[in-house]
């Protein structure tokens, strides 16, 4: 006997080719005729995202279209990957606003801490995921683009309802 061969002694009933083949054929037939398919017809039929899904950012705006951001600087401070760039400025009334506000969605890890820390509920994560782009530059969202986003904002975890989704 050449080499060392592992000998498997299966009982006859398990080793039968005919029986195994027949069983396999019946299983595949059952699946073939089953109209319930697992495929999701993606562009036509989309995922139902959870209310706490953390996706693309959006900036809340006032009724006159100005961003709610007061450029306090908390979000760039708390951001663990430094993906938020903020340059504050002050208008003639002494109100602070963000002269430059950019989020690099490529660097972002979608932890949601910017949303949690925001004192005026301006920056939010959103229930949204389709943000493919042709260039890396396009992934850096400026303030105008953040304000234009119109998807649902991510719901925060409710401490009163610990199992909440």
């Amino acid at each position: 006997m050449p080499g060392k061969v592992k000998v498997v002694n299966r009982p006859e009933s398990e080793a039968s080719y005919v029986r195994a083949a027949t069983k396999g054929m019946s299983i595949t037939l059952k699946h073939m005729l089953d109209p319930r398919k697992k495929t999701q017809q993606y562009p036509d039929e989309k995922w139902e995202l959870a209310p706490r899904h953390r996706g693309t950012h959006r900036m809340e705006v006032h009724e006159d279209g100005r961003a709610k951001c007061v450029a306090c600087g908390l979000c760039p401070t708390v951001c663990p990957v430094n993906c938020i760039k903020l340059v504050p400025a002050e208008d003639e009334n002494g109100e602070r606003f963000a002269a430059v506000y950019e989020i690099d969605e490529f660097r972002c890890i979608f932890c949601g801490m910017c949303q949690e820390v925001c004192p005026v509920e301006a920056i939010h994560l959103g229930v949204h995921y389709e943000n493919a782009e042709y260039s890396r530059e396009r992934w850096v969202y400026d303030l105008e683009r953040l304000c234009e986003q119109d998807h649902d904002v991510t719901a925060l975890w409710d401490p009163a309802d610990k199992a909440s989704q």
Partner: protein, 412 residues
């Protein structure tokens, strides 16, 4: 019909059969992917065109536009010859298959068959063997180890199973006494006078159908006999080095072969274009030119549809098997071919021959009871095959483990 109308009619039928076959190949590639999808709980290609039907055209366009590669080690003439040899035998095989009942035309009755050759299905066996060259040449001329292995495996396999394929049709000759395919079809219909059996040969010869089917699977290199391709071992074997349209031609050849084998199973065992439980389609042209039955264009269309449905079902079973059974190991394949199938077919021929001899001796007229008697014998044979052969692990092919156990115990 003879003379000029015959030539024109034959040309039209040849072109028509070829076109329909290629269209069927397109549909078959689509059906294969859809069925694969359904079996795996997916939906398969469904984006291009209505329910994905135009996917085939998209694929064809893609393959035409792709780059043709020529490996440096390739032997050019044979490298180009192989895809042609793959497509050619598979497409000309359909010539002896009748598609439907004869059509009445202003120039006389036309049989729906390209060539009613007197050598009948021997032509199929002869031309079918040429398919080996495509596999062997493709594998060798590519100048690649994997391709060569695939080609070698393929040629060995196809030659081995050809024997069983041819022998599995011997019981058919015993029953019909003729190899002409239209004759075999009319034998399965009900005619007065005792020449025909009135039942499809799937009843009196269903073990023969099983043998023919298994050998046909091996001949067309479909799973579970796809040793020459064996993606996981040989990177698709003999057509590894082929790209673009040359690769497509191998695929078209394979699917044309599958459809042809489906058509042959239909013609030999499923009554050809016969519509079951209806005698209105029993139309036959005798050798002396006498027409039995009433041919009409409507009946021809109906029988054409019946033939298409049956062939489609057989091809569907091919695909169903492909997406169910795993590939044989090479030694199992050879053992199954030489040590089981060949012997079983030979014994089966003897059994059927003796049964026919006995039935003729008893003076039983051809018809329902004759077929029923043969069917019973087939049941017994099938019982023995499944009960004994499966239990003794002959059908499993190699069963190396059992052999090794016996060897280790000092047996063999």
């Amino acid at each position: 019909m003879s003379g000029a109308p015959f030539v024109v009619a034959t040309a039209i039928k040849a072109i028509g059969a070829f076109t329909v076959l290629l269209l069927a190949v397109m549909l078959a590639t689509y059906a294969e992917r859809r069925i694969a999808g359904f079996i795996q709980d997916r939906s398969g290609p469904n984006r291009v065109g209505p329910i994905g039907l135009l996917q085939v055209i998209a694929d064809g366009l893609k393959n035409i536009l792709k780059e043709e590669t020529l490996p440096a080690q390739a032997i050019k003439p044979f490298f180009f010859l192989a895809p042609i040899l793959a497509i050619l035998p598979a497409t000309v095989l359909i010539a002896v298959v009748p598609f439907g009942a004869p059509v009445p035309t202003p120039w006389g009755l036309t049989e729906l068959i390209v060539a009613d050759a007197s050598i009948g299905f021997l032509y199929v066996l002869a031309i079918g063997s040429i398919g080996v060259y495509a596999v062997a040449l493709g594998g060798w001329a590519s100048g690649s180890k994997y391709s060569l292995l695939g080609g070698l495996r393929g040629s060995a396999q196809m030659i081995s199973y050809e024997v069983a394929l041819a022998l599995s049709l011997v019981p058919l000759i015993l029953l019909t006494g003729d190899v002409r395919v239209p004759e075999i079809v009319s034998m399965q219909q009900s005619f007065e006078g005792g020449a025909a059996y009135g039942t499809w040969f799937v009843l009196p010869l269903f073990v023969g159908l099983f043998f023919f089917f298994v050998a046909g699977l091996a001949e067309t290199n479909r799973l579970p006999f796809d040793m020459p391709e064996a993606e996981s071992e040989l990177i698709t074997g003999y057509h590894t080095e082929y790209s673009a349209m040359k690769f497509s031609m191998f695929m078209i050849g394979e699917f044309a072969h599958v459809i042809t084998v489906g058509a042959l199973v239909t013609v030999f065992f499923l009554g050809g274009w016969d519509i079951p439980f209806w005698t209105g389609d029993d139309i036959r042209v005798l050798d002396n030119g006498v027409v039995v039955g009433e041919p009409s264009i409507l009946i021809s269309l109906l029988t054409l549809a019946a033939f298409t449905v049956k062939t489609g079902l057989v091809v569907g079973v091919f695909m169903w098997i492909r997406w169910t059974l795993p590939r044989f190991r090479y030694d199992q394949l050879m053992d199954l071919g030489w040590k089981f199938l060949l012997e079983a077919v030979t014994v089966y021929i003897l059994v059927i021959a003796l049964a026919i001899l006995a039935l003729e001796g008893l003076g039983l007229p051809r018809g329902g009871w004759y077929a029923a008697a043969l069917f019973t014998i087939n049941l017994v044979v099938a019982g023995i095959l499944i009960g004994l052969a499966d239990r003794k692990a002959w059908i499993r092919g190699g069963n190396v483990s059992a052999r090794l156990t016996r060897a280790a115990e000092g047996g063999e």
